[in-house]
Protein backbone atom coordinates (compact mmCIF):
# COMPACT_ATOMS: atom_id res chain seq x y z
CA UNK A 1 0.00 0.00 0.00
CA UNK A 2 2.86 2.33 0.83
CA UNK A 3 4.31 1.91 -2.62
CA UNK A 4 0.93 2.49 -4.29
CA UNK A 5 0.66 5.75 -2.34
CA UNK A 6 4.18 6.69 -3.41
CA UNK A 7 3.46 6.09 -7.07
CA UNK A 8 0.18 7.97 -6.81
CA UNK A 9 2.06 10.94 -5.33
CA UNK A 10 4.64 10.77 -8.09
CA UNK A 11 2.09 10.51 -10.87
CA UNK A 12 -0.08 13.39 -9.74
CA UNK A 13 2.72 15.76 -8.79
CA UNK A 14 3.62 16.17 -12.48
CA UNK A 15 1.56 17.68 -15.25
CA UNK A 16 1.52 15.21 -18.14
CA UNK A 17 -0.96 12.75 -16.57
CA UNK A 18 -3.44 15.57 -16.06
CA UNK A 19 -3.09 16.72 -19.65
CA UNK A 20 -3.32 13.22 -21.05
CA UNK A 21 -6.40 12.51 -18.95
CA UNK A 22 -8.11 15.66 -20.15
CA UNK A 23 -7.24 14.96 -23.77
CA UNK A 24 -8.45 11.36 -23.53
CA UNK A 25 -11.76 12.45 -22.06
CA UNK A 26 -12.21 15.32 -24.49
CA UNK A 27 -11.51 13.08 -27.49
CA UNK A 28 -13.82 10.26 -26.51
CA UNK A 29 -16.68 12.36 -25.20
CA UNK A 30 -16.25 14.79 -28.08
CA UNK A 31 -16.58 11.94 -30.52
CA UNK A 32 -19.62 10.70 -28.67
CA UNK A 33 -21.16 14.14 -29.09
CA UNK A 34 -20.25 14.15 -32.77
CA UNK A 35 -21.92 10.79 -33.32
CA UNK A 36 -24.99 11.91 -31.46
CA UNK A 37 -25.14 15.15 -33.41
CA UNK A 38 -24.91 13.46 -36.80
CA UNK A 39 -27.35 10.66 -36.01
CA UNK A 40 -30.69 10.78 -37.83
CA UNK A 41 -33.64 8.53 -38.48
CA UNK A 42 -31.75 6.54 -41.08
CA UNK A 43 -28.79 5.85 -38.83
CA UNK A 44 -30.16 6.17 -35.32
CA UNK A 45 -27.85 6.62 -32.38
CA UNK A 46 -27.05 3.30 -30.72
CA UNK A 47 -25.12 2.37 -27.62
CA UNK A 48 -22.24 1.11 -29.77
CA UNK A 49 -22.20 4.30 -31.81
CA UNK A 50 -21.66 6.44 -28.70
CA UNK A 51 -18.38 4.57 -28.13
CA UNK A 52 -16.89 5.40 -31.51
CA UNK A 53 -14.12 7.45 -29.97
CA UNK A 54 -12.80 4.84 -27.56
CA UNK A 55 -9.87 3.87 -29.78
CA UNK A 56 -8.66 7.49 -29.85
CA UNK A 57 -8.84 7.66 -26.09
CA UNK A 58 -7.00 4.34 -25.95
CA UNK A 59 -4.04 5.81 -27.82
CA UNK A 60 -3.84 8.80 -25.48
CA UNK A 61 -4.09 6.54 -22.42
CA UNK A 62 -1.22 4.44 -23.72
CA UNK A 63 0.86 7.56 -24.28
CA UNK A 64 0.17 8.64 -20.72
CA UNK A 65 1.07 5.22 -19.34
CA UNK A 66 4.28 5.04 -21.33
CA UNK A 67 5.25 8.58 -20.28
CA UNK A 68 4.65 7.72 -16.63
CA UNK A 69 7.65 5.40 -16.75
CA UNK A 70 9.82 6.83 -19.55
CA UNK A 71 9.95 10.27 -17.90
CA UNK A 72 11.36 8.51 -14.84
CA UNK A 73 14.19 7.23 -16.99
CA UNK A 74 14.50 10.57 -18.75
CA UNK A 75 14.91 12.54 -15.52
CA UNK A 76 16.76 9.90 -13.54
CA UNK A 77 14.02 9.67 -10.94
CA UNK A 78 13.88 5.93 -11.62
CA UNK A 79 17.28 5.72 -9.90
CA UNK A 80 16.00 7.75 -6.97
CA UNK A 81 13.10 5.29 -6.87
CA UNK A 82 15.37 2.25 -6.91
CA UNK A 83 17.52 3.80 -4.18
CA UNK A 84 14.44 4.26 -2.02
CA UNK A 85 12.91 0.91 -2.99
CA UNK A 86 15.68 -1.52 -4.00
CA UNK A 87 13.11 -4.21 -4.84
CA UNK A 88 12.61 -3.08 -8.43
CA UNK A 89 9.83 -5.56 -9.12
CA UNK A 90 7.72 -4.13 -6.30
CA UNK A 91 8.43 -0.53 -7.28
CA UNK A 92 7.53 -1.09 -10.95
CA UNK A 93 4.44 -3.18 -10.17
CA UNK A 94 3.18 -0.45 -7.85
CA UNK A 95 3.62 2.09 -10.64
CA UNK A 96 1.89 -0.21 -13.12
CA UNK A 97 -1.02 -0.72 -10.73
CA UNK A 98 -1.50 3.01 -10.17
CA UNK A 99 -1.33 3.79 -13.88
CA UNK A 100 -3.70 0.92 -14.71
CA UNK A 101 -6.21 2.05 -12.09
CA UNK A 102 -6.11 5.59 -13.44
CA UNK A 103 -6.53 4.26 -16.98
CA UNK A 104 -9.49 2.15 -15.86
CA UNK A 105 -11.20 5.07 -14.15
CA UNK A 106 -10.61 7.29 -17.17
CA UNK A 107 -12.00 4.54 -19.42
CA UNK A 108 -15.21 4.40 -17.44
CA UNK A 109 -15.48 8.19 -17.35
CA UNK A 110 -14.87 8.36 -21.10
CA UNK A 111 -17.34 5.59 -21.93
CA UNK A 112 -20.16 6.71 -19.68
CA UNK A 113 -19.41 10.32 -20.59
CA UNK A 114 -19.80 9.51 -24.28
CA UNK A 115 -22.92 7.53 -23.58
CA UNK A 116 -24.34 10.29 -21.37
CA UNK A 117 -23.68 13.04 -23.85
CA UNK A 118 -25.47 10.97 -26.51
CA UNK A 119 -28.45 10.67 -24.21
CA UNK A 120 -28.29 14.40 -23.60
CA UNK A 121 -28.14 15.40 -27.27
CA UNK A 122 -30.60 12.78 -28.55
CA UNK A 123 -32.92 12.06 -25.60
CA UNK A 124 -35.31 10.18 -27.88
CA UNK A 125 -32.83 7.54 -29.01
CA UNK A 126 -32.75 4.10 -27.45
CA UNK A 127 -29.58 4.06 -25.37
CA UNK A 128 -30.74 1.73 -22.62
CA UNK A 129 -28.09 -0.77 -21.53
CA UNK A 130 -30.07 -3.97 -21.81
CA UNK A 131 -27.88 -6.67 -23.25
CA UNK A 132 -24.47 -7.96 -22.09
CA UNK A 133 -23.19 -6.73 -25.42
CA UNK A 134 -24.29 -3.18 -24.68
CA UNK A 135 -22.86 -3.32 -21.19
CA UNK A 136 -19.50 -4.49 -22.50
CA UNK A 137 -19.50 -1.82 -25.18
CA UNK A 138 -19.67 0.89 -22.51
CA UNK A 139 -18.41 -0.45 -19.19
CA UNK A 140 -15.80 -2.62 -20.91
CA UNK A 141 -13.82 0.41 -22.10
CA UNK A 142 -12.29 0.88 -18.64
CA UNK A 143 -11.06 -2.70 -18.57
CA UNK A 144 -9.49 -2.40 -22.00
CA UNK A 145 -7.82 0.91 -21.06
CA UNK A 146 -6.42 -0.60 -17.87
CA UNK A 147 -4.91 -3.59 -19.66
CA UNK A 148 -3.57 -1.38 -22.48
CA UNK A 149 -1.93 0.83 -19.84
CA UNK A 150 -0.09 -2.20 -18.45
CA UNK A 151 1.21 -3.01 -21.94
CA UNK A 152 2.32 0.60 -22.40
CA UNK A 153 4.16 0.67 -19.07
CA UNK A 154 5.91 -2.60 -19.94
CA UNK A 155 7.02 -1.19 -23.29
CA UNK A 156 8.14 1.98 -21.51
CA UNK A 157 10.30 -0.03 -19.11
CA UNK A 158 11.84 -1.96 -21.98
CA UNK A 159 12.47 1.00 -24.32
CA UNK A 160 13.09 3.70 -21.65
CA UNK A 161 12.96 6.59 -24.15
CA UNK A 162 9.67 8.48 -24.39
CA UNK A 163 9.76 9.04 -28.14
CA UNK A 164 10.83 5.49 -28.89
CA UNK A 165 8.24 3.87 -26.64
CA UNK A 166 5.40 6.05 -27.89
CA UNK A 167 6.38 5.57 -31.54
CA UNK A 168 6.56 1.82 -31.05
CA UNK A 169 3.16 1.68 -29.37
CA UNK A 170 1.45 3.91 -31.93
CA UNK A 171 2.94 2.14 -34.91
CA UNK A 172 1.97 -1.21 -33.46
CA UNK A 173 -1.59 -0.33 -32.51
CA UNK A 174 -2.37 1.80 -35.54
CA UNK A 175 -0.44 0.04 -38.27
CA UNK A 176 1.09 -3.33 -37.52
CA UNK A 177 -2.03 -5.11 -36.34
CA UNK A 178 -3.99 -3.89 -39.35
CA UNK A 179 -1.28 -4.35 -41.96
CA UNK A 180 -0.62 -7.89 -40.84
CA UNK A 181 -3.78 -9.01 -42.58
CA UNK A 182 -2.23 -7.97 -45.90
CA UNK A 183 0.23 -10.85 -45.71
CA UNK A 184 -0.94 -13.38 -48.30
CA UNK A 185 -2.74 -16.48 -47.06
CA UNK A 186 -1.71 -16.46 -43.38
CA UNK A 187 -2.21 -12.71 -42.77
CA UNK A 188 -5.86 -12.91 -41.78
CA UNK A 189 -5.27 -15.81 -39.43
CA UNK A 190 -2.49 -13.94 -37.66
CA UNK A 191 -4.62 -10.82 -37.43
CA UNK A 192 -7.38 -12.77 -35.70
CA UNK A 193 -5.02 -13.60 -32.84
CA UNK A 194 -3.37 -10.23 -32.26
CA UNK A 195 -3.90 -8.66 -28.81
CA UNK A 196 -5.58 -5.41 -29.80
CA UNK A 197 -7.88 -7.24 -32.21
CA UNK A 198 -8.88 -9.24 -29.16
CA UNK A 199 -9.52 -6.11 -27.11
CA UNK A 200 -11.70 -4.72 -29.90
CA UNK A 201 -13.58 -7.97 -29.95
CA UNK A 202 -14.37 -7.55 -26.26
CA UNK A 203 -15.86 -4.11 -26.89
CA UNK A 204 -17.66 -4.70 -30.18
CA UNK A 205 -18.73 -8.24 -29.38
CA UNK A 206 -20.46 -10.63 -31.71
CA UNK A 207 -23.33 -8.80 -33.35
CA UNK A 208 -24.63 -10.00 -36.67
CA UNK A 209 -22.32 -8.13 -39.01
CA UNK A 210 -24.77 -8.14 -41.90
CA UNK A 211 -27.34 -6.25 -39.86
CA UNK A 212 -24.97 -3.60 -38.66
CA UNK A 213 -24.32 -0.27 -40.30
CA UNK A 214 -20.75 0.95 -40.36
CA UNK A 215 -21.85 4.08 -38.53
CA UNK A 216 -23.22 2.16 -35.63
CA UNK A 217 -20.01 1.76 -33.68
CA UNK A 218 -16.30 1.09 -33.75
CA UNK A 219 -15.10 -1.24 -36.51
CA UNK A 220 -15.91 -4.84 -35.79
CA UNK A 221 -13.14 -7.15 -34.76
CA UNK A 222 -12.45 -10.37 -36.54
CA UNK A 223 -10.90 -12.15 -33.57
CA UNK A 224 -10.40 -15.83 -32.90
CA UNK A 225 -12.16 -15.85 -29.53
CA UNK A 226 -15.50 -14.81 -28.08
CA UNK A 227 -15.57 -11.52 -26.09
CA UNK A 228 -14.64 -12.54 -22.54
CA UNK A 229 -11.93 -15.04 -23.52
CA UNK A 230 -10.69 -12.33 -25.88
CA UNK A 231 -10.27 -9.95 -22.93
CA UNK A 232 -8.43 -12.67 -21.01
CA UNK A 233 -6.18 -13.22 -23.99
CA UNK A 234 -5.50 -9.45 -24.12
CA UNK A 235 -4.74 -9.40 -20.39
CA UNK A 236 -2.51 -12.44 -20.75
CA UNK A 237 -0.50 -10.60 -23.38
CA UNK A 238 -0.11 -7.67 -20.95
CA UNK A 239 1.07 -10.01 -18.19
CA UNK A 240 3.67 -11.59 -20.47
CA UNK A 241 4.96 -8.15 -21.50
CA UNK A 242 5.13 -7.08 -17.87
CA UNK A 243 7.01 -10.20 -16.79
CA UNK A 244 9.59 -9.61 -19.53
CA UNK A 245 9.89 -5.93 -18.56
CA UNK A 246 10.42 -6.75 -14.87
CA UNK A 247 13.01 -9.40 -15.64
CA UNK A 248 14.93 -6.96 -17.83
CA UNK A 249 14.68 -4.11 -15.29
CA UNK A 250 16.00 -6.40 -12.57
CA UNK A 251 19.02 -7.49 -14.55
CA UNK A 252 19.84 -4.17 -16.11
CA UNK A 253 22.01 -1.46 -14.57
CA UNK A 254 19.70 1.34 -13.55
Amino acid sequence: MTLLAVERMKLFSTRSPWWCSLIALALTVGFGALMAGTANTETPLTVAATQFGYTFGLVVIMVMAALAITTEYRFGTIRATFLAVPNRGKALLAKTAVVAILAGVLGELAAFGSWGIGKLIKPASDLALNTPYEWRAVAGVGLVYAVAAVIAVAVGVLVRHSAGAIALLLVYVQLVENLVSLIPRIGNDIHRWMPFTMSAKFITGDPDVTLRNINEGPPLADAGLSPWPALLYFAGFAVVMMVIALAVANRRDA
Binding site: A5, V6, K10, L83, P86
Partner: protein, 314 residues
Protein backbone atom coordinates in the same frame (compact mmCIF):
# COMPACT_ATOMS: atom_id res chain seq x y z
CA UNK B 1 31.06 1.65 7.50
CA UNK B 2 31.30 0.80 3.82
CA UNK B 3 33.34 -2.14 2.61
CA UNK B 4 34.21 -2.98 -0.95
CA UNK B 5 35.70 -6.42 -1.55
CA UNK B 6 37.13 -7.21 -4.96
CA UNK B 7 34.60 -4.99 -6.73
CA UNK B 8 34.83 -5.43 -10.48
CA UNK B 9 32.76 -3.98 -13.30
CA UNK B 10 33.30 -4.84 -16.92
CA UNK B 11 31.56 -3.13 -19.84
CA UNK B 12 32.28 -5.26 -22.85
CA UNK B 13 36.05 -5.17 -23.21
CA UNK B 14 36.61 -2.25 -20.86
CA UNK B 15 37.34 -2.97 -17.23
CA UNK B 16 35.82 0.08 -15.54
CA UNK B 17 36.49 -1.11 -12.00
CA UNK B 18 39.19 -3.67 -11.42
CA UNK B 19 39.23 -5.79 -8.27
CA UNK B 20 38.76 -2.80 -5.99
CA UNK B 21 38.88 -3.32 -2.23
CA UNK B 22 38.71 -0.60 0.38
CA UNK B 23 36.84 0.34 3.53
CA UNK B 24 35.29 3.61 4.60
CA UNK B 25 35.30 4.18 8.38
CA UNK B 26 32.60 5.98 10.35
CA UNK B 27 33.15 9.33 12.00
CA UNK B 28 35.43 10.56 9.23
CA UNK B 29 35.05 12.22 5.87
CA UNK B 30 36.60 9.84 3.38
CA UNK B 31 37.50 11.20 0.00
CA UNK B 32 37.17 9.03 -3.08
CA UNK B 33 39.71 10.48 -5.42
CA UNK B 34 40.64 9.74 -8.99
CA UNK B 35 40.85 11.36 -12.40
CA UNK B 36 37.75 11.51 -14.55
CA UNK B 37 36.89 8.10 -15.90
CA UNK B 38 38.69 6.31 -13.07
CA UNK B 39 35.52 4.45 -12.08
CA UNK B 40 34.39 6.48 -9.06
CA UNK B 41 30.77 6.87 -10.10
CA UNK B 42 30.52 3.26 -11.22
CA UNK B 43 31.87 2.14 -7.86
CA UNK B 44 29.35 4.29 -6.00
CA UNK B 45 26.52 2.97 -8.13
CA UNK B 46 27.60 -0.59 -7.34
CA UNK B 47 27.71 0.20 -3.62
CA UNK B 48 24.15 1.49 -3.92
CA UNK B 49 22.84 -1.49 -5.84
CA UNK B 50 22.06 0.49 -8.99
CA UNK B 51 24.66 -1.34 -11.06
CA UNK B 52 25.36 -5.02 -10.62
CA UNK B 53 29.07 -5.78 -10.13
CA UNK B 54 30.68 -8.22 -12.53
CA UNK B 55 32.54 -9.55 -9.50
CA UNK B 56 33.02 -8.83 -5.82
CA UNK B 57 30.66 -7.25 -3.33
CA UNK B 58 30.04 -3.96 -1.60
CA UNK B 59 28.63 -4.03 1.92
CA UNK B 60 27.13 -1.29 4.01
CA UNK B 61 27.26 -2.16 7.71
CA UNK B 62 27.67 -5.75 6.61
CA UNK B 63 24.69 -5.84 4.27
CA UNK B 64 24.25 -5.48 0.54
CA UNK B 65 22.24 -2.38 -0.37
CA UNK B 66 19.54 -4.41 -2.06
CA UNK B 67 18.97 -6.34 1.15
CA UNK B 68 18.35 -3.24 3.25
CA UNK B 69 14.85 -2.65 4.54
CA UNK B 70 13.88 0.99 4.09
CA UNK B 71 17.37 1.85 2.85
CA UNK B 72 16.97 5.62 3.18
CA UNK B 73 17.11 5.13 6.95
CA UNK B 74 20.56 3.54 6.63
CA UNK B 75 22.14 5.18 3.61
CA UNK B 76 21.71 8.60 2.08
CA UNK B 77 23.16 9.25 -1.34
CA UNK B 78 23.56 12.16 -3.70
CA UNK B 79 24.78 10.78 -7.00
CA UNK B 80 23.28 13.33 -9.35
CA UNK B 81 21.47 16.47 -8.26
CA UNK B 82 19.45 16.45 -11.48
CA UNK B 83 17.60 13.24 -10.62
CA UNK B 84 14.43 15.20 -9.93
CA UNK B 85 11.40 15.62 -12.14
CA UNK B 86 11.65 19.26 -13.29
CA UNK B 87 7.91 19.88 -12.94
CA UNK B 88 7.72 18.50 -9.43
CA UNK B 89 8.16 20.86 -6.51
CA UNK B 90 11.06 20.34 -4.14
CA UNK B 91 8.62 19.48 -1.38
CA UNK B 92 6.69 16.98 -3.54
CA UNK B 93 9.98 15.31 -4.49
CA UNK B 94 10.92 14.84 -0.84
CA UNK B 95 7.39 13.83 0.11
CA UNK B 96 7.26 10.78 -2.10
CA UNK B 97 10.75 9.77 -1.02
CA UNK B 98 9.78 10.09 2.64
CA UNK B 99 6.60 8.11 2.10
CA UNK B 100 8.48 5.30 0.36
CA UNK B 101 10.49 4.61 3.51
CA UNK B 102 7.64 5.38 5.92
CA UNK B 103 9.31 8.51 7.20
CA UNK B 104 7.10 11.08 8.89
CA UNK B 105 5.93 13.91 6.65
CA UNK B 106 7.33 16.53 9.02
CA UNK B 107 10.82 15.20 8.29
CA UNK B 108 10.47 16.79 4.84
CA UNK B 109 10.18 20.25 6.36
CA UNK B 110 13.07 19.51 8.71
CA UNK B 111 15.50 18.62 5.93
CA UNK B 112 14.32 21.55 3.82
CA UNK B 113 15.17 23.74 6.79
CA UNK B 114 18.60 22.09 7.23
CA UNK B 115 19.64 22.80 3.64
CA UNK B 116 17.96 26.20 3.59
CA UNK B 117 15.37 25.55 0.87
CA UNK B 118 12.25 26.21 2.94
CA UNK B 119 11.39 29.39 1.08
CA UNK B 120 11.45 27.71 -2.35
CA UNK B 121 9.99 24.36 -1.29
CA UNK B 122 6.87 24.86 -3.39
CA UNK B 123 8.74 25.90 -6.53
CA UNK B 124 9.31 23.47 -9.37
CA UNK B 125 12.72 21.83 -9.11
CA UNK B 126 13.38 22.34 -12.82
CA UNK B 127 13.94 26.03 -12.18
CA UNK B 128 16.57 25.50 -9.52
CA UNK B 129 20.16 26.59 -9.97
CA UNK B 130 22.83 23.93 -9.69
CA UNK B 131 23.58 25.00 -6.13
CA UNK B 132 19.93 24.73 -5.14
CA UNK B 133 19.64 21.35 -6.86
CA UNK B 134 22.65 20.13 -4.89
CA UNK B 135 20.99 21.29 -1.70
CA UNK B 136 17.80 19.48 -2.64
CA UNK B 137 19.86 16.36 -3.35
CA UNK B 138 21.48 16.65 0.06
CA UNK B 139 18.08 17.14 1.67
CA UNK B 140 16.95 13.90 0.00
CA UNK B 141 20.06 12.12 1.26
CA UNK B 142 19.39 13.31 4.82
CA UNK B 143 15.69 12.37 4.85
CA UNK B 144 16.07 9.09 6.72
CA UNK B 145 18.71 10.50 9.10
CA UNK B 146 21.12 7.84 7.79
CA UNK B 147 24.43 6.81 9.35
CA UNK B 148 26.09 6.36 5.97
CA UNK B 149 26.26 9.10 3.35
CA UNK B 150 27.62 9.00 -0.20
CA UNK B 151 28.14 12.05 -2.35
CA UNK B 152 29.35 11.92 -5.94
CA UNK B 153 31.23 15.09 -6.96
CA UNK B 154 29.04 17.30 -4.76
CA UNK B 155 30.97 20.51 -5.39
CA UNK B 156 31.04 20.19 -9.16
CA UNK B 157 29.98 23.45 -10.72
CA UNK B 158 29.31 25.21 -7.44
CA UNK B 159 30.40 28.73 -6.59
CA UNK B 160 32.90 29.23 -3.75
CA UNK B 161 30.16 29.90 -1.24
CA UNK B 162 28.41 26.66 -2.16
CA UNK B 163 31.66 24.73 -1.98
CA UNK B 164 32.39 26.07 1.47
CA UNK B 165 28.88 25.24 2.66
CA UNK B 166 29.15 21.64 1.46
CA UNK B 167 32.63 21.23 2.96
CA UNK B 168 31.48 22.41 6.38
CA UNK B 169 28.38 20.30 6.09
CA UNK B 170 30.38 17.13 5.46
CA UNK B 171 32.57 17.84 8.45
CA UNK B 172 29.51 18.29 10.61
CA UNK B 173 28.04 15.00 9.42
CA UNK B 174 31.28 13.17 10.19
CA UNK B 175 31.53 14.80 13.61
CA UNK B 176 28.12 13.38 14.36
CA UNK B 177 29.75 9.96 13.91
CA UNK B 178 28.43 9.24 10.44
CA UNK B 179 30.25 7.58 7.60
CA UNK B 180 30.78 10.16 4.87
CA UNK B 181 32.11 9.01 1.50
CA UNK B 182 32.61 11.76 -1.04
CA UNK B 183 34.10 11.48 -4.50
CA UNK B 184 36.02 14.13 -6.37
CA UNK B 185 38.56 14.50 -9.12
CA UNK B 186 40.04 17.56 -7.41
CA UNK B 187 42.76 16.75 -4.93
CA UNK B 188 42.97 20.32 -3.67
CA UNK B 189 39.31 20.15 -2.71
CA UNK B 190 39.70 16.74 -1.08
CA UNK B 191 42.73 17.91 0.91
CA UNK B 192 40.44 20.42 2.59
CA UNK B 193 37.40 18.19 2.94
CA UNK B 194 38.58 14.66 3.57
CA UNK B 195 40.48 13.15 6.46
CA UNK B 196 40.87 9.79 4.75
CA UNK B 197 41.54 9.16 1.10
CA UNK B 198 40.78 6.26 -1.17
CA UNK B 199 42.62 6.98 -4.40
CA UNK B 200 41.87 5.10 -7.61
CA UNK B 201 43.05 5.30 -11.20
CA UNK B 202 41.71 3.28 -14.12
CA UNK B 203 39.49 1.32 -11.79
CA UNK B 204 42.37 0.13 -9.63
CA UNK B 205 43.14 1.08 -6.05
CA UNK B 206 46.22 3.29 -5.84
CA UNK B 207 46.22 3.99 -2.13
CA UNK B 208 44.12 4.15 0.97
CA UNK B 209 45.49 6.25 3.79
CA UNK B 210 44.88 9.40 5.76
CA UNK B 211 44.98 12.53 3.66
CA UNK B 212 48.04 13.76 5.54
CA UNK B 213 49.98 10.54 4.92
CA UNK B 214 48.98 10.55 1.31
CA UNK B 215 50.27 14.04 0.80
CA UNK B 216 53.50 13.43 2.70
CA UNK B 217 54.21 10.20 0.90
CA UNK B 218 53.34 11.55 -2.45
CA UNK B 219 55.09 14.88 -2.31
CA UNK B 220 58.83 15.05 -2.43
CA UNK B 221 60.18 17.32 0.33
CA UNK B 222 63.07 19.37 -0.93
CA UNK B 223 65.13 22.37 0.15
CA UNK B 224 66.00 25.19 -2.15
CA UNK B 225 69.44 26.73 -1.55
CA UNK B 226 70.64 29.89 -3.20
CA UNK B 227 74.26 30.97 -2.80
CA UNK B 228 76.92 32.96 -4.68
CA UNK B 229 79.31 30.06 -3.98
CA UNK B 230 77.38 27.15 -5.39
CA UNK B 231 80.34 25.04 -6.51
CA UNK B 232 81.87 24.31 -3.07
CA UNK B 233 78.42 23.72 -1.64
CA UNK B 234 77.59 21.30 -4.39
CA UNK B 235 80.75 19.28 -3.85
CA UNK B 236 80.22 19.20 -0.07
CA UNK B 237 76.66 18.00 -0.52
CA UNK B 238 77.79 15.54 -3.15
CA UNK B 239 80.05 13.82 -0.65
CA UNK B 240 77.04 13.14 1.57
CA UNK B 241 75.29 11.34 -1.25
CA UNK B 242 72.10 13.45 -1.30
CA UNK B 243 70.39 14.15 -4.58
CA UNK B 244 70.87 17.62 -6.01
CA UNK B 245 69.15 19.35 -8.87
CA UNK B 246 70.47 22.54 -10.48
CA UNK B 247 68.03 25.39 -10.94
CA UNK B 248 70.08 28.26 -12.36
CA UNK B 249 71.66 30.02 -9.40
CA UNK B 250 70.00 27.70 -6.90
CA UNK B 251 70.20 24.06 -5.87
CA UNK B 252 67.23 21.92 -4.99
CA UNK B 253 68.29 19.34 -2.43
CA UNK B 254 66.22 16.37 -1.42
CA UNK B 255 66.97 14.01 1.48
CA UNK B 256 68.31 16.66 3.87
CA UNK B 257 66.52 19.30 5.91
CA UNK B 258 67.25 23.02 6.21
CA UNK B 259 69.07 22.77 9.53
CA UNK B 260 71.58 20.21 8.27
CA UNK B 261 72.23 22.10 5.07
CA UNK B 262 72.68 25.36 7.00
CA UNK B 263 75.19 23.78 9.38
CA UNK B 264 77.05 22.20 6.50
CA UNK B 265 77.28 25.59 4.77
CA UNK B 266 78.62 27.19 7.96
CA UNK B 267 81.31 24.52 8.30
CA UNK B 268 82.30 24.99 4.68
CA UNK B 269 82.18 28.79 5.02
CA UNK B 270 79.65 29.19 2.23
CA UNK B 271 77.43 32.25 2.15
CA UNK B 272 73.74 31.49 1.75
CA UNK B 273 71.20 33.83 0.20
CA UNK B 274 68.26 31.50 0.56
CA UNK B 275 67.49 28.35 2.42
CA UNK B 276 63.85 27.40 2.07
CA UNK B 277 61.92 24.17 2.40
CA UNK B 278 59.85 23.32 -0.67
CA UNK B 279 56.67 21.38 -0.40
CA UNK B 280 55.43 19.61 -3.47
CA UNK B 281 51.94 20.64 -4.45
CA UNK B 282 49.03 18.33 -3.96
CA UNK B 283 48.32 18.34 -7.64
CA UNK B 284 51.85 17.19 -8.34
CA UNK B 285 51.43 14.37 -5.86
CA UNK B 286 48.19 13.36 -7.46
CA UNK B 287 49.68 13.40 -10.94
CA UNK B 288 52.64 11.43 -9.78
CA UNK B 289 50.45 8.68 -8.43
CA UNK B 290 47.76 8.63 -11.03
CA UNK B 291 49.80 9.91 -13.95
CA UNK B 292 49.88 6.55 -15.64
CA UNK B 293 46.29 5.86 -14.99
CA UNK B 294 44.58 8.82 -16.59
CA UNK B 295 42.43 7.43 -19.30
CA UNK B 296 42.07 10.30 -21.71
CA UNK B 297 45.13 12.35 -22.49
CA UNK B 298 44.78 15.23 -24.87
CA UNK B 299 47.16 15.60 -27.76
CA UNK B 300 48.51 18.97 -26.73
CA UNK B 301 49.00 18.11 -23.08
CA UNK B 302 52.50 18.04 -21.74
CA UNK B 303 53.65 14.64 -20.55
CA UNK B 304 52.09 13.96 -17.19
CA UNK B 305 49.83 16.98 -17.30
CA UNK B 306 46.58 15.66 -18.60
CA UNK B 307 44.27 18.50 -19.51
CA UNK B 308 41.23 16.41 -18.67
CA UNK B 309 41.98 16.76 -14.99
CA UNK B 310 40.86 20.31 -14.94
CA UNK B 311 37.46 19.75 -16.45
CA UNK B 312 34.50 18.58 -14.48
CA UNK B 313 32.63 15.60 -15.68
CA UNK B 314 30.69 12.60 -14.71
Amino acid sequence: MIEAVGLTKRYGKTLAVDNLSFSVPSGRVTGFLGPNGAGKSTTMRMILGLDTPTGGTALIDGKRYRDLQQPLRTVGALLDAKWVHPNRSARAHLQWLARSNRLPAKRVDEVLEIVGLTSVAGKRAGGFSLGMSQRLGIAAALLGDPQVLLFDEPVNGLDPEGILWIRKFMHRLAEEGRTVFVSSHLLSEMALTAQELVVIGRGKLISQSSTEDFVTQATENTVRVRSPQLAPLRSALGKLGVSIRDEGEALVVSGMDCADIGELAAREGVVLHELSPQRGSLEEAFMQLTGDSVEYHTEIAEPGVPATLTTAGK
